[in-house]
């Protein structure tokens, strides 16, 4: 926990320090708000509502970033084998994942706050309990995605390009998901459950627990995937070079 808080603090300080020299600090939130508002007015022009747009957008932005950024980060870190000593720590793999999660925290927080600002700019309905439950699920889901993204980044040479493809494709994937109340989808495709919880659809608690179970299974698989990727990397099959 201390390592996680330290990484969050150092990342934040690094970002603030960068912001002194330019507008980089504001670019991410401005970009998120502008994308959201563009999408919102497009949906409205087609006769849709904020509820149909916001939660899939929220899940998309955070999920795509959670898988995308570690994939690119892992790929960069491990394609240059000399920097891969970050693995070599008495704390093992969890320390590296803690580091990456710490790095992502500031990034996610910025995205999340930007979206909330955008959300309130267009006056939506707000369910407090659902938002808290939905957010818990989303954070847990992102941990699993970070593992999967990182595993891909370590193991596959093409991960850098795959990351860009995922970022482009994820939103469409989420928009075409079957969003109406079949609980099996909540288990197999956690974003379905997360969106349902956020939108207060059907039996919220049932959605919550089924989705949570699905997420925990995915997170366990994600952690195994990182371990497998690292083992493959150690054999010399990953992005590692002589």
């Amino acid at each position: 926990m201390k390592l996680y808080l330290l990484v969050v603090y150092l990342q934040f300080k690094g970002m603030v320090r960068k912001a002194r020299y330019g507008l980089q600090f504001l670019l991410l939130p401005l970009m998120t708000i502008s994308i959201f508002l563009t999408a919102y007015f497009t949906v409205r022009a087609l006769g849709g509502t904020i509820h149909e747009l916001f939660f899939p957008f929220l899940v998309f932005v955070l999920s795509a970033s959670a898988i995308n950024v570690p994939m690119q980060g892992g790929n960069q870190l491990f394609s240059e084998p000399t920097t891969a000593h970050l693995w070599i720590t008495p704390r093992g793999i969890p320390a590296l994942l803690t580091y990456f999660f710490g790095v992502q925290t500031i990034y996610f927080s910025t995205l999340f706050i930007s979206l909330i600002i955008a959300y309130f700019l267009v006056h939506p309905q707000f369910y407090f309990l659902n938002s808290v439950l939905g957010l818990c699920l989303l954070v847990l889901w992102c941990i699993g995605l970070i593992c999967v993204g990182f595993g891909f980044g370590i193991r596959f040479l093409f991960a850098f390009h795959l990351a860009q493809l995922i970022f482009l494709g994820f939103y469409f994937f989420i928009l075409i998901l079957p969003l109406t109340g079949k609980f099996v989808f909540s288990f197999v495709i956690p974003p379905v459950g997360i969106i349902s919880v956020f939108k207060n659809e059907g039996n919220v608690l049932k959605h919550f627990f089924i989705t949570l179970t699905g997420i925990l299974v995915y997170n366990f698989l994600g952690f195994l995937f990182v371990k497998w990727s690292y083992k493959e990397y150690r054999i010399g099959k990953g992005v590692n070079r002589v």
């Binding site: 690094g14 970002m15 000399t82 000593h85 970050l86 002589v242």
Partner: protein
Amino acid sequence: MIAITAKQLRKIYPTKPPVEALKGVSIDIYEGETVALLGPNGAGKTTFLRIITGILLPDSGEVTISNCNSIKYPSRAARFFRFLPETPFLLRDNSLWENARFWFEYWNENFPHRNLYEIFTRFNLINRAQEPLSRYSRGMLQKAALSFMLATEAPVIILDEPTLGLDVISVKEVVDMINQLKEIHKTLLIASHAMTFVEKVADRVAIFNDGKILEIEDINYFKSRHSRPKYVVSYTYDQNGEIITETFTDSEEMNLRLKQLLSNNIKIVEATKYTDSLEEIVRLLLASGR
């Protein structure tokens, strides 16, 4: 006591075509000694270091660091050593002190503030220790990463090209600090192409070539065994005249020549024995294809 043991390490990279990087390397490194790995590019030094540190798995062989198997239990073994690779990972948007905080927390070590302060001062980094590392030069980044290695509590320190990009003053500081670490019985394993640096710090040298260790020996014994002495005599016929230099490979030849010169009242300017430098010895050894 043995600090690091490697037995019959073999490694073939599963590339197309496969590359045999190590062909049965064995070595014992004792506590408190400094061993330098020398050899040409692609000889297997870095692969060897990566296997020792647990970053890579060998196809066969065993490695223990402080009696802990670093292949099976890399995290457990990582308590006993720190590794400085060629391109160390540093947080570029954070300051030197912040990087130090990160690494010592990452290694689960107490923060050695006083020790670091002294090292930063000696490396001439202290005045810029609050600046983000993005403003540092290549050499300064190397010194930053090296500082953490020199301040760590771990008994074994493994360095890959530690003097890369350093100026001569900093290299001198590194030599002094490594010698201080030797005094407190730290074990050092260093891969380097900087022979002058190696001559000043190493107790033993291991010569790598083509995935094998050609020789591993005490550095002084190694030099004396392989060195071809040269005897140089300089003399002049006239106080302000030209200095003539003659070189001999045999001391008796030189003595004979000296007697001749003295009997003719010729002024001897210098009569010195030279030995090959470590660089020359390693170059000749590798060229001989052994």
